[in-house]
Symmetry: C2
Subunit: 201 residues, 2 copies
């Protein structure tokens, strides 16, 4: 159990930013000059917000999955809320897709490419090279989509299989002993389920 709620802003001044963490100049907070750390979050807060341990965050940094937006003079890590979202996405890819961190690194780098595009295509420093990068990221995304769709299809098939077994199970329950209350109470309908197995009374 944590002693107190560590989710609060890091106030004060003096922080070295990472390159490219300047926020695309469309945020409500007024830019109070470089070197401040308004809106930055410390590692404990990120950990509790993303529901991971601090060790996990440092480990993700070690393997190149995340990187603090800035550092305190003493070396403390400072993150943005996009970093929190990033960590959440990492966990989602782990849980949902069963990817390991190496795969996730590839996937998220493609996603980041698409995201960073928004800012970069305006600058248009080198149109041809930019387009190549975008095309590459698009290919990676298509690949990801293919894998996700495959897995989703397999899960739907498995779900149907389980439903069939449940149905047969209920048939047995009713035919085997008609004078019973049809077993224990059915659990709640699962979220996002397009076809709950109906249980005739």
């Amino acid at each position: 159990m944590r002693s107190r709620d560590p989710v609060r802003r890091a106030d004060g001044a003096g922080a070295t930013l990472r390159p490219g963490a300047g926020s695309a100049a469309d945020e409500p907070v007024p830019p109070a000059g470089p070197g401040d750390r308004r809106g930055l979050i410390r590692i404990g807060a990120v950990a509790s917000l993303a529901d991971v341990s601090e060790r996990t965050l440092r480990y993700y940094e070690e393997v190149g999955l995340i990187s603090p937006a800035a550092h305190q003079p003493g070396g403390g890590r400072l993150y943005t809320e996009q970093d929190v979202a990033r960590v959440r996405r990492i966990r989602e890819l782990q849980r949902l897709m069963g990817f390991n961190l190496e795969e996730i690194r590839a996937v998220t780098s493609a996603l980041d490419e698409v995201e960073a595009l928004r800012d970069r295509i305006r600058g248009t420093s080198d149109a041809a090279a930019q387009l190549d990068m975008v095309a590459e990221a698009a290919a990676a995304l298509e690949d990801l989509r293919s894998r996700v769709a495959t897995k989703a299809g397999q899960m739907q098939a498995f779900l149907a299989e389980v439903d069939a077994k449940i149905a047969r199970c209920h048939v047995r329950l009713r035919s085997g002993h008609p004078g019973r209350g049809a077993g224990p109470a059915p659990p709640q309908a699962a979220a996002g389920s397009p076809r709950p197995p109906r249980q005739p009374r």
Copy 2:
């Protein structure tokens, strides 16, 4: 690489069966008396059929996930094709659902309960106890279904998110540089995909 194809039947005679491996008396092969091993498969064949290693099969046995249908006098393991199917299901639960072997043991034991039901409900040794077991297995199945449905829903949501990103990516590709062949060839449509992202020409 394996030296030769080990998928063939174990012929000969003399094998100690496991209890309950007598096959529900509705198979095409004539029962040639107990103690034979017709239709039984050795471990190497099971391994190649289920696409796992022999070590994995022994490990699954060690943790109580599978158990050979019979043994050769020298100690060799003999399996049925249902065992192969069982191993395949174990792998599916690992890959698809990300379950660990402990969870899989719980799930498959429930599935087995439902399956064994077919034979046992006929014998009707103790109707009340049987019904209780069925009800318990049904509850476990509902729980499994809930988890599968939840995950399937989350995957559909993630799929939609990826699709949105792909669409934006293609918009950029066309608006950013109209004189290009729209990037590399799109990958093949994924199997079981209900909504492939259309790529306007």
